[in-house]
């Protein structure tokens, strides 16, 4: 069985590689565009996937409402930016304030959602918590739809077209570059937070064993709240960036983005932070290449197919560790 899997894998990769090299040689610029587009897309997925994977690592729950947190981040930024824009504020101040408000509000929503929908179900069966999460996601979507609008709202890009970037902008736009750079910075900061700070240590301990962590004096509830807050903050950054990139948002954007990010997290190995980043980049780039060379209508089908294949052949993902169920 193992040998069969390896042969199958090599055959598939070889076939795709052969096709790919042929295509790349025939039109390298098109390939580069697709590749960088995929990198941008993957960076956004990574920002959202981090929240999923961190929460899953600690309480083994798929936070279905995470995509909605991302949507609320984008929505808040849009509202703040338009209000301040009408008041005639300086555009640099608007960018900073929009980001700050988006992050603060997303964190607040993430915190509140955890307290309402997940904390009372900490000891309940996992199915209950999952259904509660789906309910929360449904609620938040409809709340934004009813309070704002169900139509697409145009989102004026907050990120200016930098002068110095002019020579390269035919390959990769300034917005895309900003997205990739921001993602890298966020990843580094997050890595520092988890590796070197006290709360990061507490998070790792809680992920390993909740009861043991509480025995050595870690406030588990606070660690879980912090995890939700940190995850929400990265999702909000992703939300604002993608809204700048796409140029329009509505109340539904969180759903698909959330699912894709979840797929990316599973692809990389859920619970593992480097895995989430790697999975997101792989998913983003392969999706971009797929839509560029094959059928663009079946983009979502492709992502789900990847998910199914990964879960069947390697459920622990690329970087995840195998776990066995114990009585």
């Amino acid at each position: 069985m193992r040998l069969f899997k390896i042969i199958l894998g090599v055959a598939v990769v070889g076939f795709l590689g052969f096709l790919g090299i042929k295509e790349i040689i025939s039109d390298p610029v098109y390939f580069l565009e697709l590749f960088l587009g995929g990198l941008t897309r993957g960076s956004i997925y990574a920002l959202i996937a981090l929240g999923y994977t961190m929460v899953y690592g600690i309480i083994q729950l798929i936070n279905f409402a995470h995509g909605e947190i991302y949507m609320i981040g984008a929505m808040t930024a849009l509202i703040v930016a338009s209000v301040l824009g009408l008041w005639g504020w300086n555009s640099a101040v608007i960018v900073i304030l929009a980001f700050v408000f988006a992050i603060v509000y997303s964190c607040a929503y993430g915190f509140t959602v955890e307290k309402i929908a997940y904390k009372p179900l900490r000891t309940a069966p996992r199915l209950s918590a999952l259904i509660s999460a789906i309910g929360m996601s449904l609620f938040l979507q409809n709340y934004v739809m009813l309070a704002q609008t169900s139509e697409y709202m145009p989102f004026e890009s907050l990120i200016p077209d930098f002068q110095f970037w002019e020579p390269f902008s035919h390959i990769i736009t300034a917005v895309e570059m900003t997205i990739i750079v921001t993602t890298i910075i966020v990843m580094i900061l997050l890595g520092i937070l988890i590796k070197f700070t006290k709360i990061g240590k507490a998070m790792r301990a809680t992920a390993q064993d909740k009861i043991m962590a509480s025995l050595v004096g870690i406030n588990v509830n606070r660690v879980i709240s912090t995890t939700f807050v940190v995850g929400s903050a990265t999702a909000a950054i992703g939300g604002v960036l993608i809204a700048c990139h796409v140029g329009q948002i509505n109340f539904m954007i969180g759903f698909m983005a959330g699912l894709k990010a979840f797929i990316a997290a599973v692809l990389g190995g859920i619970g593992s932070i480097p895995g989430a980043v790697l999975g997101s980049l792989v998913l983003g780039i392969s999706e971009s290449l797929f839509t560029g060379y094959f059928w663009s209508e079946y983009e979502d089908v492709f992502a789900f197919t990847i998910l199914v294949i990964i879960l069947i052949f390697r459920p622990s993902g690329i970087l995840g560790r195998d776990t066995t169920s114990k009585v």
Partner: protein
């Protein structure tokens, strides 16, 4: 009952919600016309609602804790006790039967047609109840099988002119096959992975139906689907609605009968046991995979039959009827009604589908309320509105 501390806490929670919802509830921007409207009155209402919601929430949480401490035996819901009572049961069921029998003749066609869709949901709910309630497999792509049924009827009728009554069993078989085919690769996965993968499959089927023009006519859908005939006799529009109503009622009765029998059969008990503890089940020699697969396939069968009825009733289908929201609505019916409880699911479907139809003014809040109800039910009453009862063998004392 309510302490001063709780009031103070609720006050702050009300304030918190006012801050939290400020940008989205109060400010409304129109980015095309560049207008900003401030709706300050919303802020006030959010504060009031937040305050009282927090009081009630805390009260119920405390009640739940106390109940857990008191460790009362979970009492059987009223409706079950009434149904067990012989003197009540027969008149009640007779009244119910009479009500459903005369319903289409007493009420106008509009109401009959709404009742048909509610009854289709009863069928779907009972089907999904096998998968989610009994076997404990969270299936978020249930609507895919509903689509399989609807498209089976539409396409077979379009190309081969096969009538409703022949399609009904064919679609059941198709549903069963589709359930097995989708279940086979995915049922190795556990709980939450399964939910996402089934969701993915549901979306895949919808996207394929939308984009594969030659097969399904794409987003334009398929129209002119004939209503069922009565031994070759085609009814007029009004009578045909009544006819479909009776067909659905009969199908629902059949579903209730089958699902009830299944639940207490060997395989049904295996499902429940598997839901409660997988490892213990395997130790007892239950084939985990096969048992799950039967649950999945049987659930799909009912969804497929429901799809045929849906297509016959609306006479037009397109992929927009089979979105993820449909799956979530059916899931809400099962969860809010009571997972694993047939009566609960029936009541849930009737309430959740009929109420929004009649309360048109609040119909746009339907999904909002569904979402909130899902959270509330899971937090306070995970067994749903009407709890299912397990069949318990009671020993009768022998008089000496």
């Amino acid at each position: 009952m309510v302490t001063k501390k709780e009031i103070k806490q609720s006050f702050f929670i009300g304030l918190w919600f006012m801050v939290l919802t400020f940008p989205i509830m109060v400010i409304k921007v129109n980015t095309i016309k560049h207008i900003v409207i401030f709706r300050w009155s919303n802020l006030f209402w959010v504060g009031i609602v937040g305050f009282f919601a927090s009081l009630v929430w805390n009260y119920f949480l405390r009640m739940k804790e106390e109940k857990k401490k008191a460790d009362t035996k979970d009492d059987i819901p009223l409706i079950h006790r009434l149904l067990q009572n012989e003197r009540f049961r027969i008149p009640f069921l007779t009244a119910l039967a009479v009500f459903f029998l005369i319903y289409p003749f007493v009420f106008p066609m509009y109401h009959t047609s709404i009742m048909i869709s509610a009854l289709v949901y009863v069928m779907l709910g009972l089907g999904l109840n096998i998968v989610v309630g009994l076997a404990g497999l969270l299936d978020l792509g249930y609507v895919a099988f509903y689509a399989v049924g609807a498209y089976t009827y539409a396409l077979l009728n379009l190309h081969f002119g096969i009538s409703f009554w022949f399609v009904l069993p064919i679609s059941a078989v198709f549903g069963f096959i589709a359930g097995t085919m989708l279940g086979y690769p995915v049922l190795r996965l556990k709980g939450d992975y399964l939910a996402i993968v089934t969701l993915g499959f549901g979306e895949i089927i919808r996207i394929v139906l939308e984009n594969w023009d030659d097969f399904s006519n794409g987003p334009r859908g398929i129209g002119n689907i004939p209503a069922p005939s009565f031994f070759g006799h085609q009814f007029g529009q009004h009578n045909s609605v009544i006819y479909i109503y009776f067909i659905v009622t009969a199908l629902v009765l059949m579903t209730i009968f089958f699902v009830g029998r299944l639940e207490n059969s060997r395989i049904g008990r295996a499902w429940i046991a598997l839901r409660d503890d997988e490892i213990a089940c395997q130790a007892m020699g239950i084939d985990k995979f096969k048992t799950k697969l039967t649950a999945f396939a049987l659930g799909a069968t009912w969804a497929s039959i429901g799809g045929v009825v849906f297509a016959a009733k609306t006479s037009f289908i397109n992929p927009m009827s089979f979105t993820i929201w449909e799956s979530i609505t059916i899931l809400c019916v099962v969860v809010i009604g009571g997972m694993g409880s047939a009566i609960g699911v029936i009541a849930g479907a009737l309430v959740l589908i009929l109420l929004p139809e009649y309360l048109r003014a609040v119909a746009e809040y339907r999904m909002l309320v569904f979402g909130a109800l899902q959270v509330i039910v899971m937090v306070f009453k995970p067994e749903g509105l009407i709890q299912g009862v397990r069949k318990i063998y009671k020993f009768k004392k022998v008089k000496e």
